[in-house]
């Protein structure tokens, strides 16, 4: 039955190869299949980027006639360059990413390694670790806000029980950013863990068994087998994590609103406040373009660094 259908397929292919008009359709058809996805990508991704960049080249001015838009070229970008609040936001964004990304990726990998084997305990653990995914980030941020409350929060209650002084957490310019790291890490680790679990399952067991026969311990197997074979997954997770953390917004909006003293005022929050609090949409468009450019540069370097051996 299988052989017959294969022959039939070969006949069809053979026929197609000999008819030039059908050959053109063969070239076009794949693109036709891709068209809906590509048009979606263009209209919902590339087109807004173009509109965003175009809008950032204009400036709003107000007079008795109302609002007028004036083409000012790159002046919004130059303004941003001389704006200390922008540099502060850039610093905060990098600080956040510098700590949050490694924490999330390392923890996700460690947890994935620990619950990799298909035992009953691991199956229960997997479910528990995946629970944060089932809670909307806005809700989990609200819960964290209650937990971290300076006066009535559970965490301060525990600290007090342990005779440790109460901590200001979200109201301290030194501690707020670490609270955001904690909340964002809690929310994001389980998501990244799924990718690592899939990556780990793709590594053949035989490799570990033969390494074991050759006298390798778990530590060596991790460095010599697991990590090299997970490189593609790590690259994917790193790029995914960087892009999502660069655009991190909800925990900051829910917990600190960029404060105290602008210590959690990331570029994304600056973007939001420029547009919706200060109603300066031109500045918001400019910041969006800058975020995109920075993100492209960072991801480019991540590809360069992590994708080396593959090349």
């Amino acid at each position: 039955m299988k052989l017959n259908s294969l022959r039939g397929y070969k006949d069809i292919v053979g026929t197609i190869n000999h008819v030039p008009t059908i050959s053109i359709s063969r070239k076009i058809i794949p693109y036709l299949f891709l068209l809906p996805a590509l048009s979606g990508l263009f209209f919902f991704r590339f087109f807004p980027i173009i509109v965003n960049f175009y809008g950032s080249l204009y400036r709003s001015s107000y007079s008795s006639q109302g609002e007028t838009s004036i083409f000012t070229g790159l002046s919004n970008y130059i303004d941003l360059f001389y704006d200390p609040t922008f540099w502060n936001s850039l610093k905060v964004t990098f600080k956040l990413n510098l700590f949050l990304n490694p924490i999330q990726i390392t923890m996700a990998l460690i947890i994935a390694l620990l619950i990799r084997k298909n035992t009953l305990f691991n199956r229960i653990s997997r479910t528990l670790f995946l629970l944060p995914l089932g809670i909307a980030i806005a809700i989990s941020s609200s819960i964290w806000r209650i937990l971290l409350d300076q006066n009535y929060g559970l965490i301060n209650g525990i600290l007090e029980f342990l005779s440790i002084p109460r901590q200001p957490f979200l109201t301290s310019s030194n501690q707020a950013i670490w609270c955001i790291v904690l909340v964002a890490a809690w929310c994001g680790i389980s998501y990244l863990m799924i990718f690592f679990l899939v990556g780990l399952q793709e590594i053949p067991n035989e490799l570990y068994e033969s390494a074991k026969i050759d006298g390798s311990n778990n530590w060596n197997s991790f460095w010599k087998i697991t990590l090299p074979l997970l490189k593609r997954t790590i690259l994917f997770v790193t790029v995914l994590d960087t892009s999502s953390n660069f655009l991190l917004f909800v925990p900051i909006f829910m917990l600190t609103k960029g404060g105290p003293n602008m210590s959690t005022d990331t570029l994304m929050y600056q973007n939001y406040s420029s547009a919706f609090i200060y109603s300066d949409f031109r500045r918001a468009l400019t910041i969006s373009s800058v975020i995109l450019i920075i993100l492209l540069i960072v991801v480019f370097f991540e590809f360069k660094m992590l994708g080396k051996e593959d090349q």
Partner: protein, 437 residues
């Protein structure tokens, strides 16, 4: 056959057309979230629904679109930036009049609010509805402040109650002293469950501005409304901010990290001795008092010993979207809502102040306002509105000013140096206000 078909099509089209013409006109009213509860209170106390009555009288259907504060401001920004005709009428936070007018967010309404109509309203609120000689909205509500206090906590600490008398109002210095005594007496060592003082709209300029204004430091904006440098960071502002710093970081009589949506609950639960609060909450507290859950008293808003009394004021107005496709219906609606009849019932029902003077007659003539707690309207509010009410600044950069000053108060509350913070935000606002200069 063809003729019958053609006739049927024509009849159908005529029916559809007539249907469209006869269908009730609809307007959308974007309002602040608190209006939903106030509408229920209004209906409960007046026995009719003002929206339903308007619909019955005019045949215009009103779609209500409530958003919590401050999200309602974001909704207005987004809709107006998009030049959307979706909303027809919206609530305007009155100090934003200049900002909205300059950006073309409001339809001028001099035709429906001429000087003879304006005379029915308090002059101060009418001024807030104008920009560059044009009227952009009609005052709906006004506001004033009380210092509510928890009688039980005062009694336990052995402190005499602050009097309900504007001539004997407490100073902020006395408030701090009493707060410290209450906290020392009622809290266990190393634990703060009872707080001396809390502001309902903590860190929001609406309520905090009274501090520098009491020190005669101005509203933080230049007379032309375009600059803040030297106004927001002048000596009086630094002094007021230093007091706020001390309240939170030295005397520790106000809880940090509590937002404006949580403050009322702290007072209601009996954990706060003195609560600086908008007068409109009186109905809620009175209900709790009747149920035996809150034993409260009312005193006038405090002031600084070296300064003069200054009290927060102003409120929501009603404006029309210039892109609305139902401007005439929208005009009818805001005229109806601000009419003497509805304003009188609004005040009677909700106890919230109106921009319309009709509330003064009710306070003067109704026996309800001769006894506690509503006697506070005659003893305190009428005086405050006439002599101490200090509005927020009139500036096209109000949106930027308001959000930045809130952040400044918040940063100082969290322990940042007052002068550094004021200098920083002065420079930020100055930069943002450039586009209006």
């Amino acid at each position: 056959m063809k003729k019958i078909l053609l006739l049927t099509i024509i009849v159908c089209m005529l029916l559809i057309f007539t249907g469209i013409v006869l269908a009730a006109e609809e307007i959308t009213f974007v309002q602040s979230g608190y209006m939903t509860t106030q509408r229920e209170i209004f209906v409960e106390n007046n026995g009719y629904d003002y929206i339903e009555r308007f619909e019955e009288e005019t045949g215009i259907k009103v779609n209500l679109s409530p958003y919590p504060y401050p999200n309602v401001l974001e909704v207005i920004e987004v809709q107006m930036k998009a030049k959307s005709s979706q909303m027809d009428v919206y609530m305007v936070n009155s100090p934003l009049t200049a900002s909205y007018a300059v950006r073309g967010y409001l339809e001028p309404i001099d035709d429906i609010f001429p000087p003879e109509e304006q005379a029915r309203f308090f002059p101060a609120v009418v001024e807030m509805a104008k920009w560059n000689g044009k009227v952009y909205n009609i005052p709906f509500e006004n506001s004033s402040q009380f210092m509510f206090y928890n009688k039980d906590l005062f009694e336990k600490a052995g402190i005499p109650f602050p009097p309900m008398d504007v001539n004997q109002r407490w100073t902020w210095e006395k408030v701090v002293e009493a707060s410290q005594k209450i906290q020392e007496t009622l809290n266990k060592e190393g634990e703060t469950k009872i707080w001396g003082l809390i502001f309902q709209q903590v860190n929001r300029p609406y309520q905090m501005l009274a501090l520098p204004q009491s020190l005669e430091a101005g509203s933080g904006v230049s007379p032309d409304g375009l600059h803040v440098e030297g106004y927001l960071n002048n000596e009086g502002w630094i002094k007021a901010m230093t007091w706020w710093y001390n309240v939170n970081n030295i005397w520790k009589i106000n809880p940090k990290g509590v937002g404006p949506t949580e403050t009322s609950q702290l007072f209601e639960s009996g954990n706060v001795a003195m609560f600086i609060c908008i007068n409109g909450e009186i109905s809620l507290f009175e209900k709790l008092r009747e149920e035996g859950r809150l034993n409260y008293g009312i005193a006038p808003h405090p002031y600084f010993k070296d300064g003069k009394p200054a009290t927060p004021t102003s409120g929501w107005h009603l404006g029309i979207n210039p892109y609305s496709k139902h401007k005439e219906a929208a005009k009818k609606f805001i005229k109806y809502l601000t009419s003497d009849k509805i304003m009188a019932d609004w005040f009677k029902g909700t106890k919230r102040l109106t921009g319309n003077r009709v509330m003064n007659e009710i306070i003067a003539n109704s026996p309800e306002y001769k006894n506690f707690p509503f006697d506070a309207y005659e003893k305190i509010i009428t005086y405050e509105l006439a002599f101490t009410a200090a509005p927020r600044p009139t500036t096209p950069a109000f949106l930027e000013w308001d959000a930045s000053v809130e952040k400044a108060f918040s940063d100082v509350q969290n322990g940042e140096d007052p002068k550094t913070v004021l200098d920083k935000y002065s420079s930020i606002i100055e930069k943002m206000a450039e586009k209006y200069q």
